[in-house]
Amino acid sequence: MSLAARHLEANGIPTVICGSGRDIVEQAAVPRFLFTDFPLGNPIGKPYDAEMQRAITSMGLDLLESARFPRTTVQTPFSWGDDSWRPGFMRVDESNRELLRRAGEIRKKQQARRKTEGRVRPE
């Protein structure tokens, strides 16, 4: 998504990215980034919280207008509340290491099968 924003911007369309994966977006270097410190999946606000969603969408529009330089990041004021998602997401520890190893084997087989069956994007 960051690369797409850069492409649009380089071709005359101003962009804003609204997201929660801060390091990924900032390292790619984008024109304008509205960051919400939530677990990945709800970068516009909590489900069914229309007021929060409207506020975040509106802040994204404000950032489109207000940024004067590229790589402008603005953080929204919202907090998820419970922080257990921070260590929880993509957790790797002794309790799941074997499970992950086996999941990886299955995933690799699926990827290989997709390739041999031609279910991949053409080059």
């Binding site: 797409a4 850069r6 609204c18 677990p39 999946g41 260590p87 992950l100």
Partner: protein, 174 residues
């Protein structure tokens, strides 16, 4: 104190989540020996707005897929990913997200506007904050290949937006 508790409670550790670190360790544990090389740039292009937002047409972009399928759909049976445009009116009430990497333990994506603010944007158009919503919204796949994003998906997205006379874009990755 467990590692998990320390992460949350101890200010000697950062609370900020690095997805670059997490995905490297996670896929490493799955047996992928060569970590993903994320895009890294020192500079960004920048295009100032040429007219007020209240007179501009905005295009919304998602990484979700415009299919109304149950969450337990076998992602192996999905069509091959591609860049797309679909009508904004009526707005989609569901988008398929299960094939994307997001925190499926902490939350859900049953409310489209929690990750794709199409109804919220309509409201902001009605209020006059933004001129109009593009007649179509857009999707681009999350691609492992940066070359494919740069050479295929991003140019296709630009072409679709030019067909619709889009002035500004809001991109919302999951």
């Amino acid at each position: 104190m467990s590692e998990q508790e320390r992460f949350i409670a101890d200010p000697a550790y950062r609370a900020f989540v690095s997805y670059i670190d997490k995905s490297r360790e996670f896929y490493g544990a799955q047996g992928y020996e060569r970590p993903y090389r994320w895009a890294r740039n020192d500079e960004s292009p920048f295009t100032p707005l040429t007219k007020p937002l209240s007179e501009s047409r905005i295009g919304l972009v998602t990484t979700a897929v415009n299919l109304d399928l149950p969450d337990d759909t076998d992602t192996e049976k999905l069509p091959i990913a591609s860049t797309f445009a679909a009508p904004s009116d009526p707005p989609p009430e569901r988008l398929f997200t299960q094939n994307r990497s997001w925190d499926k333990e902490a939350t859900h994506t049953n409310d489209v506007d929690s990750f794709f603010p199409i109804h919220r944007m309509q409201e902001l158009v009605t209020q006059g904050k933004v001129g109009s919503l593009s007649p179509r919204y857009y999707g681009i796949p999350t691609e492992y290949s940066q070359r494919r994003t740069n050479e295929v998906d991003a140019p296709q997205l630009l072409a679709l937006m030019r067909e619709d006379d889009v002035d500004v874009a809001m991109l919302v990755p999951l």
